[in-house]
Amino acid sequence: MEQSFELADSTDWIDTPLNLLGPLESSLRCQICKDFFTSPVITSCCHTFCSLCIRRCLSSDHKCPVCRQADQELKLRRNWTVEELLENFKKARPSVLGLARKEAARIKNGGDDSSEPSPKKRKVNHLDEPEPPAALSPRRVRTRSRGAKVQADPTHGQEEIEESDVAIEPEVIEDSQDEDYSDDGLVPCPICNRRVRQDTINTHLDTCLAGDSPKPPPVKSSTAFGYRHPQGSELKKLERLPAINYSLFKEHALRKKMRDLGISDAGPKPLLQRRHTEWMNLWNANCDSKNPKSKSQLARELDTWERTQGGNAVPSAPERNPVTSKDFNAAQWSANHNDEFKLLIANARKKSDAQVRSTIPRVSESSNAAAEIPSPTVPSPHFGTPAADQNDSTPSG
């Protein structure tokens, strides 16, 4: 069953020895979209959602979906800890899940089921351990994941570990680079973690190594999360759109506002309102993002919205298969589709004839087969394809 779904989900852990990671993963998923949090924000009632999900909810209902307390988009605050937790969990997930699945397969195949309990327990401890520290700085994670590899060593083949090495290392390094080299031209001192200008780093290092060691710890603890938010110039560029009280806007004023924002102003006022709300949600959620998207990308997302839910959406659901509906009129259906049924029957007969002919040489010894050949007008259920049988019976019944 698992192979048919390529979508990562918390149920992936169920059949592995690490099934306790399922609930952990569930709690890292947004309750609205069931996916991992994207730009998580926290409401004033302390529930966390994806920025875009909760903005869409609040703009239609003005209540927290979990506790139904009234809330406003203005009060949403970013939840960096969750975002960081998630980032690190996502990095660790493939290798941990891979190991867990291998272990599950080994338990399933191996004859050592009876002696299993104690080694299994040990393994759970091993692999559980690297998870909690994910909340710490990326640098820590690197050392921990190395530790996990060393621990995993005795139970697994050398090449597997080699693989996970490759999978984990570069990503983590890249990430720490991302953070260390932000656009302010400062680099962190590896000793005290203070940010200094790049050209003075060497002299700073000398003084740092030489003396004032009592000071660094407090500095370090203040950045213990090691997570530097794009608080500087980058954020100021993206200004949030204020909510509008639509009833105070005349239609042409709203149209002008939307033209100014660079979005379509077509359609009646209710549609304008919905489109503006959606744009505001997309835009403001993008402001919460660590890696904001470009305006043209947001415009494309608005376009998708337009096609599925906005002005271009098909009013009712697309055509369903009417055969499954309850008030299905079989007589009418077979009358309307009579020609098609006839065509299908003819095709099926041709096919079954061909099949019979092709089977004769091989089944020549069977008298049954020979008896059934001369009746091409009534395709026998043995030779007709399932489709042919079905279509054959529909018009008559």
Binding site: D9, I32, D61, K326
Partner: protein, 162 residues
């Protein structure tokens, strides 16, 4: 994006329901091309006259990000003649058609297909006669319980083709 998020969410629910199904409940999209149209089968809860029965239903999900509840249509026409069931979880959060429900019982985007189906199961076991979908049935349930149960049992048998 709106639609693909909703679609992905439904896929998550589908995966969850099929890898870890609650007892007596089967549900999934009719075809994988359209994640917004599901069919569900619910077993009649044990210890009730519905025991042994299987109740099919259709679910239609809105395209938006689940700010509205899905349409739930039970295919069992004998007790629920027009297919609608009256369960607070299926009522949109804003309006209160019956003026007695708590807002907290109604639909919210964090509800799931699984919760809806479990609610339907518990409704079969303990119908709420204050907001009946079929007034006649509710009257019978209230005044002539044994007759109601016998009728349900007969209908369940008939439904199974016995």
């Amino acid at each position: 994006m709106g639609s693909s998020v909703a679609q992905k969410r439904l896929f998550h629910e589908y995966k969850n329901l099929s890898t870890n199904p609650p007892e007596g409940i089967t549900a999934g999209p009719v075809s994988e091309d359209d994640m917004f149209y599901w069919e569900a089968l619910i077993e009649g809860p044990g210890g009730t006259p519905f025991e042994g029965g299987v109740f099919a239903a259709e679910l239609k999900f809105p395209q938006g990000l689940s700010s509205e509840p899905p349409d739930y249509e039970i295919c069992w026409r004998r007790v629920y003649p027009n297919g609608t069931v009256c369960i607070s979880i299926l009522h949109p959060p804003g309006d209160d058609p019956n003026h007695y429900e708590h807002a907290s019982e109604r639909w919210s985007p964090i509800q799931s297909v699984e919760k809806i189906l479990i609610s339907v199961m518990s409704m079969l076991a303990e119908p709420n006669d204050e907001s009946p979908a079929n007034v006649e049935a509710a009257k019978m349930w209230r005044e002539r319980r044994s007759e109601y149960e016998q009728k349900v049992r007969d209908e369940v048998r008939k439904g199974l083709g016995l």
